[in-house]
């Protein structure tokens, strides 16, 4: 039972980090209808800035600069690349983000070389022990930070004028534009927010229990894809639910892999995708996604 609770809590905390990534993904999709495959590079950029700076300016300032840096990278992608393509087919735009991703990842991995970079976080490898259940402090921090950010984001989305214009743009871009909403600004903001969320996620993906930031860290962004899809690409609630489902599924499937050995060992990585396919078979628009009305 202890193991189960440990696995569950571990899954929830890593799941909340996935939710952060997925949320950024969903925000971009809502604002621009583009699937952003360059998300992995935003993640790596944020982590890299934090890792490089923390020795000189301390962890918290470095983290802030990292978040700002990733937000800037996101905004820059929107401003210099995506904006030029407005009106193109969305699949083509998705492929363009792949091109951007290849460029950024190549540059960042070349800079990082073969190093494993520490992020200098204050939690170290401390663990908390409650009634025989041990949980790393970083995981608790991740859960709290992700919870806080997601709450702030959802409130902003609901009540600020930025949130209103964003939702209006997602609902119907033409009408929103006619009502005086600047679509360019909305999508710029969406990319920046996604970058910032990815940078926070990068922090929690590279602190203890993982050794540090290195070139493969960006692969974690891949876990956010099934999270975003199974929740529903245009639903912020969906991103949250999807992230948690992916985290828990992965954690449980790994922890109980000896009982699942008939599926082949190492099923943990695959489990989120299996869940995603199963969900899509029943609900093609994800759990919370807007159902499509036209049927042809």
């Amino acid at each position: 039972m202890t193991t189960f609770i440990e696995l569950l809590l571990g899954g929830l905390s890593i799941g909340s980090v996935y939710a952060l990534i997925a949320l950024g993904f969903v925000v971009i999709f809502k604002a621009t209808e583009v699937v952003n495959f360059a998300h992995a590079s935003l993640l790596l950029a944020g982590g890299y800035v934090t890792a490089v700076l923390h020795d000189d300016i301390g962890f918290w300032p470095a983290l802030l600069v990292g978040i700002a840096g990733a937000a800037t990278v996101g905004a820059a992608i929107e401003f210099f690349v995506m904006r030029r393509y407005r009106g193109s087919d969305h699949s083509v735009l998705a492929i363009v983000t792949i091109g951007v991703d290849i460029l950024l990842i190549t540059e960042l991995t070349r800079r990082m070389g073969t190093d494993v970079l520490a992020l200098g976080d204050p939690w170290g490898n401390e663990v908390v022990n409650i009634g025989g259940i041990t949980l790393a402090q970083t995981r608790i921090a991740a859960f709290l930070a992700a919870g806080l950010l997601i709450t702030v984001f959802l409130l902003a989305f609901r009540y600020t004028s930025w949130g209103v214009s964003m939702r209006a743009a997602a609902e119907n871009p033409q009408t929103a534009a006619l009502m005086g909403i600047k679509l360019g600004r909305v999508s710029l903001a969406a990319w920046a927010v996604a970058g910032a969320l990815a940078a926070v996620a990068a922090l929690f993906l590279t602190v203890f229990p993982t050794p540090g930031l290195e070139r493969a860290t960006s692969l974690a962004a891949l876990k956010a894809f099934p999270a975003a899809i199974l929740g529903g690409l245009d639903s912020t609630t969906g991103a949250l639910a999807g992230g948690l489902i992916v985290g828990v599924t992965e954690s449980l499937a790994t922890g109980y892999q000896s009982d699942l050995s008939f599926l082949g060992r190492g099923i943990g990585d695959l489990a989120p995708y299996l869940v995603m396919v199963a969900v899509l078979l029943i609900r093609p628009a994800g759990l919370f996604g807007t159902k499509e009305l036209a049927r042809v």
Binding site: G113, V116, N125, R139, A216, Q257, G268
Partner: protein
């Protein structure tokens, strides 16, 4: 009808073009130089070309970089001494970034131009060209991988103990130190693929010999967080853990185990450690109860071989990390050199000549703590392992705690 006319034109032109091809067979056979030494592909009167197929931009980048630079250092040293057989050694490096297509392309590109390969990273790729090596090419290939699956070919020769043998020695070390005993359970966290699976063969053999039970946890190279694995192993009540994965996974595993109060010894294969890890959060835990086996002394060993190499490598590449890849690369290159020396004495610098010369090498490599015997292609070049422990003060971050030895279980083990 009209289409046929066009086809005829194409055919006629093609035949004409084909007729004047320069690729037509010329004497590609072996030649003899003035000193009566037989030479073949990759050898001219002034140079011996060796290929290096490495990974400097992919998943094994840190290993590939150290190994390649160490081999370039070796070539430089040899050439400074006048080369081998009055010929300069020339290394042609191709970086495949762990991409099968580039690896195969690299082999195809270099194969006609080189005598053999002093390095080939990626055992699936070695396996992919195995047929060609054994069929026609016959060049000596020294892979930087220690899977027992690579044994058996007279041309592809593994330098060092294979993962299964190494794992048996690791478990034997734990038994000798009384950290585990008959009836205990041990965990084994291993990569999918032949590194992990070969190591698993070893741990299963050792477990059978010593009356242990193995609890398996298979992971992927992209897994970096070992929390779930540790939880599962803890639940199973294992008394020690073997890790046959990469450095990052080892660090996470050891770190999580220590942090959650799961205090068991962890032992890892030679690929499961990198000195960079000591700077991470897992550093203190790694220094405490983590052990590594390898078929060479660590680069930071005070012995003559490693310390000289460390000094020269550091002066050549001052900004790069000293790790065990340096020793591994240098050892492989120097064994290739030894084979070339012998082949030169036999006046046969052809590929077959080098292959044959390698078969006569026994008791080589003592300056790095382990002696290699290449007379049997079906056996690893050694069954000995050096057991080491992380050490923050030593260059390369490792110190020896038990010199090269072979356990009884490893001696009796039939490889493959």
């Amino acid at each position: 009808m009209k289409l046929r006319a066009l086809t005829a034109v194409v055919a006629a032109l093609t035949v004409t073009l084909v007729g004047c091809s320069g690729k037509a067979t010329e004497g590609k056979g072996d030649e003899q130089d003035k000193a009566g030494i037989k030479t073949g592909p990759g050898v001219t009167s002034s140079t011996i070309s060796l290929g290096v197929l490495t990974d400097m931009t992919g998943v094994y980048a840190s290993l590939g970089k150290s190994v390649t630079q160490a081999q370039q250092l070796w070539a430089k040293q040899i050439n400074a001494k006048g080369g081998i057989c009055d010929r300069k050694i020339e290394l042609t490096v191709r970086d495949h970034g762990y991409d099968p297509q580039k690896a195969i392309a690299g082999y195809t590109e270099l194969e006609p131009k080189v005598l053999g390969f002093a390095q080939f990273i990626g055992s699936p790729f070695v396996a992919a060209v195995e047929q060609r090596i054994e069929g026609k090419d016959k060049g000596l290939v020294l892979p930087q991988a220690w899977s027992a699956n690579l044994l058996g070919s007279p041309y592809i020769r593994v330098v060092g103990a294979t993962y299964d043998v190494e794992t048996i020695n690791l478990i034997d070390h734990l038994l000798k130190e009384k950290r585990i005993a008959k009836g205990d359970k041990i965990g084994h966290v291993y990569f999918e693929g032949d590194y992990g699976e070969n190591a698993l063969t070893g741990s299963k053999h050792a477990a059978k010999e010593a009356g242990l039970t193995v609890v398996e946890q298979k992971i992927k190279p992209t897994d970096n967080d070992m929390t779930a694995q540790v939880a599962a192993l803890k639940q199973a009540g294992v008394k020690a853990v073997v890790v046959s994965a990469g450095p990052r996974q080892a660090a996470s595993l050891v770190g999580v185990a220590a942090a959650t109060g799961f205090n068991v010894p962890v032992v890892g294969n030679n690929s499961a450690y990198a000195p960079q890890l000591l700077k991470t959060q897992a550093g203190p835990a790694l220094l405490k109860d983590y052990y590594i086996a390898s078929s060479t002394l660590p680069i930071g060993d005070p012995g003559d071989g490693p310390s000289l190499l460390a000094k020269e490598y550091a002066s050549q590449y001052p900004n790069d990390v000293l790790d065990n890849g340096v020793v591994a690369g240098w050892t492989a290159a120097s064994i290739f050199g030894e084979a070339l020396d012998k082949a030169c004495d036999n006046k046969d610098l052809t590929r077959e000549g080098v292959d044959k010369a390698l078969l006569t090498i026994k008791g080589y490599g003592t300056e790095f703590g382990v002696t290699h015997d290449f007379s049997d292609p079906a056996a690893p070049s050694t069954r000995e392992s050096v057991i080491m422990k992380p050490d923050a003060t030593a260059p390369g971050g490792l110190k020896v705690i038990s010199p090269a030895s072979v356990s009884d279980a490893a001696k009796s083990f039939t490889v493959k």
